[in-house]
Symmetry: C3
């Protein structure tokens, strides 16, 4: 009887490890369409850092394959000027949008800076709060890079 | 017998998924009193970034509900001047403390900068090492934001 | 029979929690030799931040025990000058390497800056892309600190 019990428990143990392992493994933290998700968080007022974020987005897509990764650039605080229509990086922001990078502006920051959606680069998205966004994404398992 | 074994294993499998799922889910990474925990890490010497961290703390509390989140601001390196008693942001630091934000200074940095607790804003906390703190918090599942 | 089934399922449930718990616990995210792994990401052009990263590496090793942690400093973008042979922090970079800190330069950044391995501090390592590296390490459970 003891031996039979043991035999019966083996399948449960096998299922157990099969199910528990993905809970910690990287592969369970993908977007619904199987991409590696990363949030780039831009707060810096220095255009050098805006260009760095945009370089990194392009290089990361190229290194991994554009359909294998999902990059969301969250912009708030002093970084918000990166996304106004007359920003020096406007052509690069537009190119990133065309390449499938999601770029979101913090509406809380915009309100403080007296910016409306009409002031911003067309095609970007908006979130009520930039920090809520970067925290939520990390809690869903996204990697985080700061600029 | 095979059929009965299968029936017996179903409850184990159900338990399995019930237990394994929370291991990866966001909801398991809350403070003991059910708050979403976030560590803000300030190393920058620029008061613009200190104000940004303090803005973000206030806005994040307001967006989520002050009793739903737990924010710890860890200050080390060139950022330490944010927490000296005569810092230009002192009133804002004190207001954040009053609003339940935990603010900790790195004692290792203070030693190097010849600062004692008497030099610092009353009400802040202290940790032996700022990096130990931000690493430990991340390993407990806290989100990380850098300034 | 119900009682006997219950008895048989207990070991499975015990195994279950024993296996599922580590999936979320910090201790499962160690290097193969049991160290706490941390990635320091340097993108800043300011030598103040290079020194800060090097200070933090030394202090973190000292606080935790040099054999208890594994620090990898990933350098890309405007930060790359930290690792050229004539960098003002060269002696400190070399000391960190001697102390077991892994330091890697982004080859993509080097290419853009027309730097070859001959231009760099001896003993450092190289990765094809700095962002791929910091994302991969985070996805393996490493903590992240930005400079």
């Amino acid at each position: 009887m003891i031996r039979r019990c043991f035999v019966r428990l083996v399948p449960a143990a096998v299922l157990l490890f099969a199910a528990a392992a993905p809970a910690a493994a990287a592969d369970s933290r993908l977007t619904a369409d199987g991409r590696i998700p990363v949030v780039f968080h831009v707060t810096n007022k220095d255009p050098l850092m805006w260009n760095q974020a945009l370089n990194n987005a392009a290089n990361y897509q190229q290194a991994m394959g554009k359909d294998k990764v999902f990059i969301e650039i969250v912009v708030n605080g002093p970084g918000i000027k990166m996304l106004v229509a007359d920003a020096e990086v406007e052509p690069r922001v537009t190119a990133a949008l065309t390449n499938g990078v999601k770029i979101v502006a913090c509406e809380q920051t915009m309100k403080g800076a007296k910016l409306t959606k009409n002031d911003m680069i067309p095609g970007i998205d908006y979130v009520p709060g930039g920090i809520v966004e970067v925290v939520d994404r990390q809690r869903e398992g996204w990697a985080y890079v700061n600029y």
